[in-house]
């Protein structure tokens, strides 16, 4: 019986080892589960939009609901000028959501519980949003770091602080998702271990906890995908509509 609660986060190679110029490009279980979640999204959207009936089937309803959910979120947080970025945010939301949800299936692997995955997502958003800001506003985008009405004497200090605050965005975005997923899955495993070690007599209490925690984890899985998408919208809003 495997009792180590961190064992579930181990990344291992599946199939042959592929090395390209000293970089290890082997297919791992992480890549497998990313592929599984991407294919699940594609299948859902393909079959959900295949038969466009007036009275939607359940599958079509799910697809339409996810579309309106994201469209409304973008409109509320970033305004109509962010409409062209709908595909990006929809893809991000669906990918994070499905990675989280696929991770909730027993014996599967949670891709988003690895900081390198979430940090790459957050860092690419950060770089992309910064580039969009510079394209849209030119060097006026740097005004983001200079709040209005600050005495000249304090300006160097404020600029450094605002810069740190700006740079902390991808870190907080990635750490939030990674920490929530990892903590949740570790906790589930620990309570599962209690059930085994306490046996038939005392195992019922942790079993109840496990069931409750699974429900909580599903809520968190959805919530973190939502927060990830909404924060991307907020950063996009800062870049598109320069305001303080």
């Amino acid at each position: 019986m495997e009792m180590n609660p961190m064992h579930q986060f181990e990344v291992y190679r599946i199939g042959p080892e592929i090395k390209l110029g000293g970089v290890n490009l082997s297919f791992t279980n992480a890549s497998l589960f990313m592929t599984i979640s991407s294919i699940t999204i594609l299948l859902l959207l393909f079959f959900g939009t295949k038969k466009k009936s007036l009275i939607p089937s359940k599958l079509q309803l799910v697809t339409e609901m996810s579309y309106t959910f994201i469209a409304k979120m973008i409109n509320d947080t970033a305004g109509p000028s962010a409409k062209p970025f709908f595909p990006l945010i929809f893809t991000l939301f669906m990918f994070v959501l499905f990675c989280n949800m696929v991770g909730m299936v027993p014996y599967s692997f949670t891709v988003t519980s690895h900081i390198i995955v979430t940090f790459m997502l957050a860092a690419s958003i950060f770089v992309g949003v910064t580039i969009i800001g510079f394209i849209k506003h030119g060097f006026k985008y740097l005004e983001l770091f200079v709040p209005k009405g600050v005495p000249i004497l304090l300006l160097p200090l404020i600029i450094v602080i605002e810069l740190i605050s700006y740079l902390s965005r991808p870190v907080s975005l990635s750490v939030r998702l990674f920490a929530n997923m990892m903590a949740g899955h570790t906790m589930l495993k620990v309570f599962g271990g209690f059930v085994i070690s306490l046996g038939l007599l005392g195992g019922w209490l942790p079993l109840g906890f496990s069931v409750a925690l699974t429900g909580l984890e599903i809520l968190i899985a959805f919530l973190q995908a939502y927060v990830f998408a909404i924060l991307t919208c907020i950063y996009l809003n800062d870049a598109l509509n320069l305001s303080h």
Partner: protein, 96 residues
């Protein structure tokens, strides 16, 4: 034809129920939980980023502990600033 009529009445009832529910709880629980999770990491992230910048600069200029200390406090300030900013944004959305 009968099928569509039945569905439209059912839709009407569902819409009414939705309106009733919406009036009951304006801000859903899940959204507030999301906000709480958001604020907690914002404070920590800025401190980490600030300290890391200080550490890297220290290695560059050979001024071990000083710049790390200075940038740690700057990071803490930036973190508090982040929290205040997002709290203000939430308040604005709440009043709207």
């Amino acid at each position: 034809m009968k099928n569509i009529k039945e569905i439209s009445t059912r839709l009407e009832i569902a819409k009414k129920n939705l309106k009733k529910n919406k009036a009951k709880n304006n801000s859903s629980n899940a959204a507030s939980l999301g906000k709480a999770l958001k604020i907690s990491t914002e404070l920590v992230a800025a401190v980490v980023v600030g300290s890391t910048i200080g550490f890297i600069l220290d290695n560059w200029f050979d001024t071990k502990p000083w710049l790390t200390i200075v940038f740690f406090f700057m990071g803490a300030t930036a973190g508090i600033l982040n929290v205040i900013k997002s709290a203000k944004k939430m308040q604005k959305n709440f009043r709207k």
